[in-house]
């Protein structure tokens, strides 16, 4: 039923319309979703609403969901007891097989020939239609999107909009094949009218109806159903037999919790303030039957797993797909099963086995965009990295990563290899600083920058650089402080000019900079690849090297590594308390360069320079983990640098995670979006706060022949300040 990953991936890449449509969708979603929450914050407080902002509503609903997860058996018992009391017949199904068998029994007993179905992700999860049709029961999906994909014999590519991958022309053709009459190919209203007429016959003649549930309210045994089309109410009203299928994680304790879910779900799913129909079904009406199939199918295993439990809070709004840069490039089918986007990378292994999630998990670029928009606060990026680590534990790393980390994790071997590479590359280094390599088409979209002849460590490590006493920022609040600078391996070897600039900016703020000996890579590449053993080894080296300095702060111009040190290390050592404590101590005084300069140094605003504007891309994790996307632009303005605002500044550039190695086509699609946005600004200089992103963007801009200089933000700041300190070398 599900095609192999490679096939799904190739099909998606061959569809040139798909990324265009999904890009338009993601942009529109972001605007309407943000506007809907903005209105909530403005209007709801004066009405006295509970949960009158995204954050408040999120924490209320998360707490309600967690209260169920604290004791699921009790929550199930409470719900079942209330539902049964109201006359609902509850069938508990441990596996997909059990669920299908329970449904089939009900349908066969009632001699059902035609089942009219509302949208249910759980039904998709257990491939219900396929099994019912094999049992000679006709199933018709009545949600328009679900009906379209049923006619196309496909699975949903989006949880809220199942047929988002289809064009109106493709849909018209499907309708014509179904009805043997012509349907307008360009007129969506006419297509919707066609569906109305065709499906109305199904509503009126079905022997039984089936719906999913958005929430199961324990206090009364009520099923909450939310739809826009009205099909859910028709299939749950017209036939005498109604079957509801739902995962038990849909249980919430009270009606008040359900209200909180309504506030979040419509805004997060479609940017609406409320969905058209919010129905509350409790027990069968006179002369009718109501069955509820309560599905586990891996949910108890998720619950038992501390790395997955919080994912059971999910309300299936698909916000995590709607902000996901790889989703925009390849769409939902590549994720494989019904749950696409970030949540799919976490829960698919529990519903369909670890193999099902093995290849898709590497699609994640670790940009963290999904975490801030999740209406139930699931730490998706962290759970995805844990899922990836499970895959690596079970199957090992691919050979190329194993080989790379064997070198990368050993400082002396890495150093020798990097120096050797900087020599052997010489014949292919062009005057523009890029390697002339015969790359295959799948990789040729990004030129490879040459390694520096002399890494920054050669002239910086072990040295102390005094703060400047003159210059426009020399009397900043950080004057007299000492900072231990973390070089970061990429900048050290491939862009030492970024380090030079960062140190000059710090000195310009009157800060003394020491560069501790013994530092190497923080281990982030291994952490991203799911190789936690190697990541821990490298983290220990880094902690050893950095904690030796008695500096006031540890600062790095590599935001990614600053985040790894300040946020990931402690988690990495959760089973080693002594190391966890050292990691936390180090984390408390580690800052990325921008945060240090903006918040600690807090330098004065200088007169604006008369020069063409630069544009700024905020590294995605700076935006989504640190919440500092505004700092880069603010500091540039303080330094007098004119700025051209970059559209979608906060969307990832495609460098992160493993995608740029494992799925270069995805990385290419994402960087194309970024560079198109950069081109729209007309700026000739793009700067950003992370060395990896700078090199990735530089290589991609070079390969597409763009007249664009890509720099670290520190380089632009240092230039603007005309920092008096001499270069390090």
């Amino acid at each position: 039923m599900i095609r192999p990953f490679v096939e799904r991936y190739r099909t998606a890449l061959a569809d040139r319309r798909l990324p265009r449509n999904l890009l338009a969708f993601q942009r529109a979603w972001r605007l309407t979703r943000d506007a809907a929450f903005q209105r909530l914050s403005v209007e709801a407080p004066s009405l006295g609403a509970r949960g009158a902002s995204f954050e408040a509503a999120r924490s209320r609903l998360s707490a309600a969901k967690d209260s169920v997860l604290a004791d699921p058996a009790a929550a199930r018992a409470a719900f079942i007891s209330a539902a049964t009391g109201a006359g609902t017949i509850v069938h508990e199904a441990r596996t997909a097989d059990d669920a299908r068998a329970a449904i089939l029994d009900v349908l066969r007993d009632r001699k059902v020939k035609l089942l009219a179905k509302g949208k249910s992700m759980v039904a998709e999860e257990i491939f219900l239609n396929h099994h019912l049709e094999n049992a000679q029961i006709r199933v018709v999906e009545t949600d328009l999107g679900e009906w379209i994909i049923q006619l196309a014999h496909e699975t949903p590519s989006h949880m809220v909009m199942p047929a988002i991958h289809k064009s109106r022309q493709q849909i018209a053709t499907l309708f014509e094949e179904e009805a043997h009459r012509s349907v307008p190919h360009d007129d969506v209203q006419a297509q919707v009218n066609f569906a109305r007429a065709e499906l109305r016959r199904v509503f009126l003649s079905a022997d039984a109806g089936m719906i999913g549930a958005n929430a199961l309210i324990a206090e009364t045994g009520t099923i909450m159903l939310i739809t826009n089309e009205g099909n859910g109410d028709l299939v749950s009203t017209l036939p005498k037999v109604l079957i509801v299928i739902a995962g038990w994680e849909k249980i919430v304790p009270t009606f008040a919790d359900a209200a909180g879910q309504i506030r979040l779900l419509a805004r997060s799913g479609t940017g609406q303030e409320i969905t058209t129909y919010s129905s509350f079904i409790t027990g069968p009406e006179p002369g009718c039957e109501l069955h509820l199939v309560l599905v586990d199918n891996g949910r108890s295993d998720m619950w038992s797993d501390p790395d997955a439990r919080s994912a059971l809070r999910c309300i299936r709004c698909a916000a995590c797909a709607d902000v996901c840069p790889p989703y925009q490039v390849v769409g939902g089918h590549v994720f494989g099963y019904v749950y696409s986007g970030a949540i799919g990378l976490v829960n698919t292994p529990f519903h369909h086995g670890i193999e099902a999630g093995m290849e898709p998990q590497a699609l994640c670029v670790s940009c963290n965009a999904c975490a801030p928009v999740c209406p139930v606060g699931i730490p998706l990026p962290e759970l995805i990295l844990n899922a990836r680590a499970r895959v690596v534990e079970r199957y090992g790393l691919p050979w190329y990563k194993r080989a790379a980390f064997a070198v990368w994790s050993r400082p002396r071997i890495f150093d020798a290899a990097a120096r050797f590479a900087s020599l052997v590359q010489l014949p292919v280094v062009a005057a523009d600083g890029f390697l002339r390599l015969p790359l295959p088409e799948s990789l040729a979209w990004r030129s490879v920058p040459a390694l520096a002849r002399h890494p920054a460590r050669d002239y910086a490590m072990g040295r102390t650089f005094e703060g400047d006493s003159t210059g426009p920022w020399a009397h900043s609040n950080a004057r007299g402080l000492t900072v231990a600078y973390f070089l970061q391996c990429v900048a050290d070897r491939a862009a030492p000019e970024q380090i030079d600039a960062a140190v000059r900016v710090l000195r310009a703020c009157g800060v003394r900079v020491v560069v501790p000996e013994g530092q190497h890579c923080c281990g982030l590449p291994a952490l991203d690849a799911g190789d936690h053993a190697t990541a821990r080894r490298m983290a220990r080296q880094t902690i050893d090297a950095l904690e030796a300095s008695n500096a006031d702060y540890v600062v790095t111009g590599a935001a990614s590594c600053g985040i790894a040190i300040a946020h990931d290390f402690a988690r990495l050592f959760r089973d080693e308390p002594a190391w966890a404590e050292r990691a936390e101590r180090l984390a408390r005084r580690t800052l990325d360069l921008l945060t240090f300069v903006d918040r600690v140094a807090d330098p004065p605003v200088l007169e604006a320079l008369q020069r063409p504007p630069v544009t700024y891309h905020s590294f995605c994790q700076s935006t989504n983990i640190l919440g500092i996307s505004a700092l880069g632009p603010r500091l540039l303005r303080r330094a007098g640098v004119p700025l051209a605002d970059l559209p979608e500044m906060e969307v990832c550039c495609g460098f992160g995670g493993g995608a740029s190695v494992d799925y270069p086509e995805v990385s290419r699609g994402i960087v194309t979006r970024k560079l198109d946005n950069v081109a729209a600004t007309g700026a000739a200089i793009l700067c950003t706060d992370n060395p990896g992103c700078a090199l990735h963007l530089k290589g991609a801009a070079h390969a597409r022949g763009m007249d664009l200089t890509v720099r670290h933000v520190a380089e632009v700041l240092a230039d603007a300040l005309n920092a008096v300190s001499p270069p390090l070398g």
Partner: protein, 170 residues
């Protein structure tokens, strides 16, 4: 939690929300006014059994009472919610089915029955459930879909038009 705004302010917020949802709101001072309004705007309308009970004048003006599907269907709204522009509907299965199958649904809501927030609206819905309602629901605008190329399209399965008639006490 009590709503902080007066009923007139709530109805004006409700009206703004109804506009955004693509529904229509009208006002009339009495049940008789509703009957003549409907007779003028919705010829040969049908109404649910509860309309005849709650608004006898409207029931008398209806072409038909009961469940068989009609183009113009009239049903009572139990209360309105200002925050969301929603109306609560609590009809038995046959009348509820007729509401969803109609082309144009008219909901009659007593002027005094408005709450400010969704929270209060859901509290009242909870009360309906406790009193034995099997399938109360909130309706917020006409049926809609964006499943084809994200094009917002009105009237896919449920009513293509929704009119809320606020009925005064006189």
């Amino acid at each position: 939690m009590a709503s902080v705004a007066a009923p007139t302010a709530l109805w004006s917020l409700f009206s703004a929300k109804v506009d955004l949802l693509g529904a229509t709101m009208m006002r009339t001072s009495s049940a008789a006014g509703a009957a003549s309004l409907l007779a003028g705007l919705a010829p040969r309308f049908a109404c649910s059994a509860s309309v005849s009970r709650l608004y006898p004048a409207v029931g008398r003006a209806a072409a038909r009472t009961g469940a068989s599907p009609a183009t113009e269907m009239v049903a009572p709204g139990v209360y309105a919610i200002a925050e969301t522009g929603s109306v609560a509907v609590d009809e038995p299965a046959n009348d509820r089915g007729a509401c969803f199958l109609a082309e144009h649904l008219w909901l009659l809501v007593p002027e005094r029955e408005i709450v400010g927030t969704l929270d209060l609206g859901i509290e009242r819905l909870h009360a309906l459930v406790r009193n034995g309602s099997h399938h109360p629901l909130l309706m917020s605008g006409p049926s809609r879909t964006a499943d084809i190329e994200r094009v917002l399209t009105i009237g896919v399965h449920g009513p293509r038009a929704l009119t809320i008639v606020v009925v005064g006490d006189s």
